[in-house]
Amino acid sequence: MAAFPRKWLAVLIALAVVIPLLHPVLPDLVSNYRLFLVSTMIIASIAVLGLNLLTGFNGQISLGHSAFYAVGAYTAAILMDKLDCPYYLTLPAAAVMSFIVGYLFGLPALRLEGHYLALATFALALAVPQILKYKWLEDLTGGVQGIVLMKPEVPFGLPLTDDQWLYYYCLIVMLILYWAAANILGSRSGRAMMAIRDYHIAASTMGINTSLYKTVTFGISAAYTGIAGALSASAVAFVAPDSFSFFLSIKFLIGLVVGGVGSLTGSVIGGIFYVLVDNSAQALSTFVKNDLGLQFDLSAYTVFGILLIVLMYLMPMGIAGGLFAVIRRLRRS
């Protein structure tokens, strides 16, 4: 894994902290909407990071991360809705809840590999929206109608707008989670995780408890994605089974692969891509129709598909992989 230079990281973080404060000075450039958009990118990147921990660093494929996202979101929503729990306390709760679900799910998944694991996780992704609609849980989950929530309020009378605050809230959570992920991966445990991915049998003969590592990784991965779900429940202020369809898992997977499998930076890029891909597909489709004057109506969905294929052609290792390759080549010359 190519490391991101520390100096640049510091500059980026400083920019991420300072720029939103310019909102009162440049209300159009740093608008509330754009802050919200960046917040959704941050949330998506946390979810993709969760998936990356499992798939990229531990080699277990998951098509079920929409389920953990839903568990996190619903845990947060139910706590806020039924128990008037403050929104910031919902994060640890969502993390614990998703961890438990992920860990438990990791147990049978131990016996499954590759396509079979993909199927099992896929089943989970299909099952969760149905469980949310289950008759006896309806009082809690709001059934098919979902739960409408309040947006997080600015604390301590800080002179921020709601969206500025939401942004900082997400940013802080993301920085903590990335720091934690980088530390885990750099530690003995992280090396064990990756050893399992690369040389499963060798790792177990070397005395690594592969079962434990795999299930715990499943749990941590689920917890990350669950936290992202809880953040999204606060940001969107609404949860419903329709928000957590299987297609969401697919989009996380696309974010993961396009960003870069097995790369922390890639997860950020994946999160950004996750949000931008739909918008750009539609923009491209209108562009093709209006400006290039193509007679055939190329729909946004077609463009979306073409976009994915072209990206994989150009950068089969994802955008992060492609970027690092370019940087390496530049350095060498």
């Binding site: 099992a120 299909l126 099952a127 499998v261 729909s299 077609t302 089969p316």
Partner: protein, 301 residues
Amino acid sequence: MQQFLEQLASGLANGSIYACVALALVIIYVSTDHLNFAQGEMAMFSTYLSWQLMQWGFNFWLAFVGAVLISFVMGVLIERIILRPLHNAPILSVVVVFIGLLAIFNSMAGAIWSYLIKEYPSPFPKSTFGIAGVIGPHQLGVVLVTLIVLALLFGFFRFTPLGLAMRAAAQNPQMARLVGVRVDWMLALGWGLAAAVGAVAGIMVAHIVYLDPNMMGGILLYAFAAALVGGIGNPGGAVMGGFIVGVLENMVAYTGNQIEKLTGVYIIGNGEKLTVALIIVIFVLTLKPAGLFGRVVVKRV
């Protein structure tokens, strides 16, 4: 008892749909070692092609053969043009390409033929055979066609040199190349074959679920489960898997109904049948990780 029989029959009928599509999934897996997420959409597209041929005046069987042939060529072309450059890409990147294909086929079909559902004719005589009220002639016909396709494939892979070469190319490309198998073309052939089987599946299914761009969405999920239950590398297993999933699902709903009737408490029903069926499938898989009819591959270190 009557309901039990009806549910069983309807489960078998649905199962034959899953079996058909699962078969196509298995072909691609056997011949290219990939699970093709776009399989359902390709089958849907092929079905539209046959529908279009019929609109142009061909009769059912001509359209059937035409669509199967076109699909075969389409499959070969997709492999040669789109997947070829990605031979060395990581598996997840290939999965993303499949998702891209899925989106393209789905939206193109919508753009060309509109999203309105269309009725699709059945080639089988109306209610001269079959057990009235329990299983219809078309359902029986689908089962029959599925079995024929299965037998043909079995014969092809088992007894022809080409079939052997295809299997070799998928399982161990390097070694196959060494013994003179043209691996690239074998992969393309596998895609063509899978697309052709997919076309048969789509044409069989369309009469039951109607023709629309999203007709395969739900079915692919079930077919996926069916293929894995049976063992992903085993065509016969996939067909059995299809029937198992179809019947299991209906039995879950049936049991739920009986429980509700006896105790008056709603525990499981139609809303949960897929969930419960999948839980059972996963449970089975944890006991037999290579699928019910799959062979355990011993890994060499």
